[in-house]
C-alpha cells in the first residue's frame, strides 16, 4: 500500500458500501488514487506511519467500525497539528443527532448520511466527489 499520491482515503468496514462508493467514484473518474482501509485501526496505522507521509486530498470516514470507530479516528486526525488540515467527510448510515454534533465538535468538514436508495446514494457520492476533488481547493 505504498502510493506516492493518495487523493482519496476511504475508511469503510462494509465491503458492499465500499464497493458501491468506489464504483460510483470510478464511473466519474474520481477514484484513480484511492486507498480503501477496512477499520479505524488500519486507518490510524496508515495515517500515522513512521515510514511514509501521506496527505490525501480527502478522507471519507465511516463512523461505526469494529475496533476503533470513526469518531476516534476523526479525533486523532483533528488533534494532530499536521493532519488536521486534511478535509474529512463523514459518510455514515447514522442520522443520530449525537453523532452529528460530536463530529462537528471535532471539526469535521462535512457530514453525509448514506441514502438507502441506490440512485440517491450514487448521486450523493458523485456530488461529494466532484465538490471535494475538483471544485474545492485543498491545502497544499
Amino acid at each position: 500500500m505504498v502510493n506516492n499520491i493518495v487523493e482519496i482515503l476511504l475508511i469503510e468496514d462494509s465491503p458492499d458500501d465500499a464497493e458501491l462508493t468506489i464504483r460510483t467514484l470510478k464511473k466519474n473518474n474520481l477514484a484513480n488514487n484511492l486507498v480503501h482501509l477496512h477499520d479505524g485501526e488500519e486507518a490510524l496505522a496508515f495515517l500515522f506511519s513512521e515510514t511514509q507521509k501521506v496527505t490525501p486530498k480527502l478522507i471519507l470516514l465511516d463512523l461505526k467500525m469494529p475496533k476503533i470507530d470513526g469518531i476516534e479516528v476523526l479525533r486523532a486526525i483533528k488533534n494532530d497539528p499536521e493532519k488536521r488540515i486534511i478535509p474529512v467527510v463523514v459518510l455514515t448510515s447514522s442520522k443520530e443527532e449525537r453523532d452529528v454534533i460530536e463530529s462537528y465538535k471535532l471539526c469535521v468538514n462535512a457530514y453525509i448520511v448514506k441514502p438507502v436508495e441506490f440512485e440517491k446514494f450514487t448521486e450523493a457520492i458523485t456530488q461529494l466527489g466532484f465538490f471535494w476533488l475538483i471544485l474545492n481547493e485543498p491545502p497544499k
Partner: protein, 572 residues
C-alpha cells in the same frame, strides 16, 4: 354548656354564702335580743328580790315591833334603825331599777308614803313606850298600824305581781323568739343543705363530663399519635437550628435509632450523607424564610452506615409575627422509585442503543439489496427476460418500502425520547404553511381546501407541525379518489378545551375498526389502494398524548372522515 353549669355552681355558692351571712346576722341580732331579754329577766328578778327584801323588812319589823311592845326589848331600837336604813336603801334601789316603769314608780311612791306613816307611827310607839306605856295599847296593835301594814303588804304584793307578770311576759316572748329563731335557722339550714347538695351534684356531673371529654380527647390524641407513629412515611420536626423535636416510629426504624437518642440530641445533618449536608445548608435557610419546601431529595444515613434515598416535603410552623418555630416534615422512602427510575433510564438507554443500531445496521444491508438489484438491472438487464426483470423490480420496491418503514419507526421512537418544548403556537400559521407545502407537491387541481380561524395553543411547535402534516396529507391521500376533494380545517370550544378538527370527503373507514386507527403499523386500507406504513396516525396519537390531549375520529365508508383533537391547556 360548660359555662352554663359553672354559672349555676357559682350561683349556688353565692346564694349559700348570702344565706349563711344572713343567718349570721340574724343569729347575732337574735343573740343580742336574747341577751337583752336575759338582762330584763335578771332585772326583773332583781326588782323582785328587793321587793321581797322590803316585804321581809315589813314583816320582820312588825314582829320585832310586837316583841318590843310586849317584852320591851331595847335592841329593837338598834334593829329598827338598821331596818330603816336598809329599807330606804332598798326603796332607792327599787326606784332606780323601775324608773322606766310608771306603775311601779307610783307603787314605790305610795310605799314610801306608807313607810313614812309607819315610821311616824313607830316613833309614836317608841315615844309612848318611854313616856306613857298605857297609851301603847292604843297604838299597837291598833287598826291604824294594821291598816298601814296591810296597805304596805298590798302595795308590795301588787309590785310583786306586776313584776312576776312582767317576768312571765318576758319569758314567754323569749320563748317565742327562741322558737322563731330555731325554726328560721332550721329552714335556712335545710335550704343551704339543699343548695350544697345541688351544687355538689352539678360539680359531680360536670366532673364526670369533663373526665369523659378528657378521655375522648386523650383517645383522639392517642389515635393521632398512633397514625403519626405508624404511618408508612417518616415524619419529623426540626427546631430553627436543625435539631429534632419529634420523629415518628417509622422514621426511627428507618434510621435505626431510639427516640431518646434522637430528640434534642441529633440534628438533621447527623442522618444525611455528605451531599445531603450541602443541600441542607443551602435549602434550610430558604425554607425557614419561605415557609415550605417540596419534593427535595436526600440520602438518609442509617446507623449501620448504609444509606437510602428519600423525598422530603415540609411546612414551617410560625408564630404570629411570622418567626419560625418548627418544621413539620414528611418523608417518603424513595428507594423503589429510584430503582424504577434507574430501570427506566436503563431501558431508555437500551432503547436508544436499539434504535441506533436499527438506524445503522438495518439500513446498510437494505442499501446493498437496493443497490445490487439496480446494478443487476443496469448491467445485466438486457440479458434477463421479462419475468427476471419483474422479480428484480419486486426486490427494489420492497427495499424502498422497508427503508420507509425503518425511517418511520425511527421517527416514532425518537419522538418518545424528545423533550417537549412548549410555547404559544399560532395554529393558523402552521396549518397554512403545511397546506402550502403539501399542495405544491399535489398534482391535482380539483381540491377545495377551507381553513377557518384557528385558536392559538400551548404546544411544541415542531411536534404540532408534524401532527398537521400527517393529518392533512392523510386527508389529501384518502380523498384523492374523489372527483372533487373537499377538506375543511376548523376549531370549536368545548368546556376548557379548544377542539381542532379536519374533515375530508374521502373514502372514510368502517367505525368497527376505529380502535385500530392509531396503532403502530395498523392500516385500514390495502397497500395497492393507498401507500403508507401505518405509522402516521400512531405518531399523531403519540404527540397528542404527550401533550396531555386526546384524539378521536368519526367516519363512514365512502363518506369521508373527521379527526378531532385537543391539547391540554395546562402549562408544565
Amino acid at each position: 354548656m360548660k359555662v352554663y353549669f359553672e354559672k349555676r355552681i357559682l350561683g349556688g355558692f353565692v346564694l349559700a354564702i348570702i344565706i349563711l351571712v344572713g343567718l349570721g346576722i340574724y343569729s347575732y341580732s337574735n343573740n343580742q335580743k336574747s341577751i337583752q331579754t336575759s338582762r330584763m329577766v335578771s332585772h326583773t328578778n332583781e326588782v323582785l328580790y328587793y321587793i321581797e327584801q322590803l316585804n321581809s323588812s315589813v314583816l320582820t319589823l312588825e314582829v320585832e315591833l310586837l316583841r318590843f311592845n310586849i317584852l320591851g326589848d331595847t335592841t329593837f331600837l338598834q334593829f329598827y334603825r338598821n331596818e330603816i336604813v336598809q329599807g330606804t336603801k332598798h326603796i332607792q334601789k327599787l326606784k332606780e331599777l323601775t324608773k322606766d316603769n310608771s306603775f311601779q314608780q307610783n307603787n314605790i311612791e305610795s310605799l314610801m308614803n306608807l313607810g313614812r306613816k309607819k315610821i311616824e307611827h313607830i316613833q309614836k310607839i317608841i315615844e309612848a313606850k318611854r313616856i306613857s306605856p298605857h297609851t301603847l295599847t292604843n297604838l299597837i296593835p291598833s287598826p291604824y298600824n294594821h291598816s298601814i301594814k296591810f296597805q304596805m303588804q298590798k302595795v308590795i304584793l301588787d309590785m310583786k305581781n306586776k313584776e312576776k307578770h312582767l317576768l312571765e311576759t318576758r319569758m314567754e316572748a323569749n320563748q317565742i323568739e327562741i322558737y322563731k329563731f330555731n325554726t328560721t335557722f332550721l329552714v335556712f339550714q335545710i335550704f343551704i343543705g339543699a343548695i350544697l347538695i345541688a351544687v355538689i351534684l352539678t360539680i359531680n356531673g360536670n366532673l364526670k363530663k369533663r373526665i369523659k371529654a378528657e378521655k375522648s380527647l386523650q383517645d383522639a390524641k392517642d389515635d393521632v399519635q398512633d397514625l403519626y407513629d405508624n404511618a408508612p412515611c417518616g415524619y419529623h420536626s426540626l427546631d430553627s437550628r436543625g435539631y429534632f423535636l419529634d420523629m415518628n416510629t417509622t422514621m426511627l426504624k428507618w434510621i435505626g435509632y431510639t427516640k431518646e437518642e434522637v430528640i434534642g440530641k441529633m440534628t438533621f445533618l447527623n442522618i444525611v450523607t455528605q451531599d445531603g449536608v450541602e443541600t441542607f445548608k443551602k435549602e434550610f435557610p430558604t425554607f425557614k424564610k419561605q415557609g415550605f419546601i417540596n419534593n427535595i431529595e436526600f440520602n438518609i444515613l442509617r446507623r449501620d452506615g448504609n444509606s437510602f434515598p428519600i423525598i422530603l416535603n415540609s411546612t414551617a410552623d410560625v408564630d404570629i409575627d411570622g418567626n419560625f418555630i418548627r418544621s413539620r416534615s414528611s418523608t417518603f422512602d424513595n428507594t423503589e422509585r429510584k430503582l424504577a427510575e434507574n430501570k427506566i433510564k436503563q431501558l431508555n438507554y437500551e432503547l436508544e442503543a436499539f434504535t441506533y443500531s436499527v438506524s445503522h445496521d438495518l439500513r446498510a444491508p437494505l442499501r446493498s439489496i437496493d443497490s445490487y438489484a439496480k446494478i443487476l438491472r443496469e448491467d445485466y438487464g438486457k440479458g434477463i427476460d421479462a419475468e427476471g426483470n419483474r422479480l428484480v423490480e419486486i426486490i427494489v420496491k420492497n427495499a424502498r418500502r422497508m427503508g420507509q418503514l425503518i425511517d418511520d419507526l425511527l421517527d416514532f421512537s425518537r419522538l418518545g425520547r424528545m423533550e417537549l418544548m412548549k410555547s404559544k403556537v399560532d395554529v393558523n400559521q402552521i396549518v397554512e404553511a403545511v397546506k402550502r407545502e403539501l399542495m405544491e407537491q399535489e398534482k391535482r387541481s380539483n381540491i377545495d381546501f377551507a381553513i377557518h380561524a384557528l385558536e392559538p395553543t400551548m404546544a411544541d411547535p415542531n411536534m404540532l407541525r408534524q401532527v398537521w402534516i400527517n393529518l392533512i396529507s392523510n386527508a389529501l391521500k384518502y380523498s384523492s379518489g374523489q372527483q372533487h376533494s373537499k377538506i375543511e380545517v376548523g376549531c370549536y370550544q368545548q368546556k376548557d378545551n379548544t377542539i381542532y378538527f379536519i374533515r375530508d370527503n374521502g373514502v372514510g373507514f368502517d367505525m368497527k375498526y376505529v380502535s385500530k386507527l392509531f396503532g403502530v403499523f395498523q392500516r385500514l386500507h390495502k397497500i395497492q389502494d393507498f401507500e403508507g406504513t401505518g405509522v402516521g396516525l400512531a405518531l399523531v396519537h403519540r404527540i397528542i398524548m404527550r401533550h396531555g390531549g386526546r384524539i378521536w375520529a368519526e367516519a363512514k365508508i365512502n363518506e369521508g372522515a373527521t379527526f378531532y383533537f385537543f391539547i391540554s391547556s395546562k402549562h408544565d
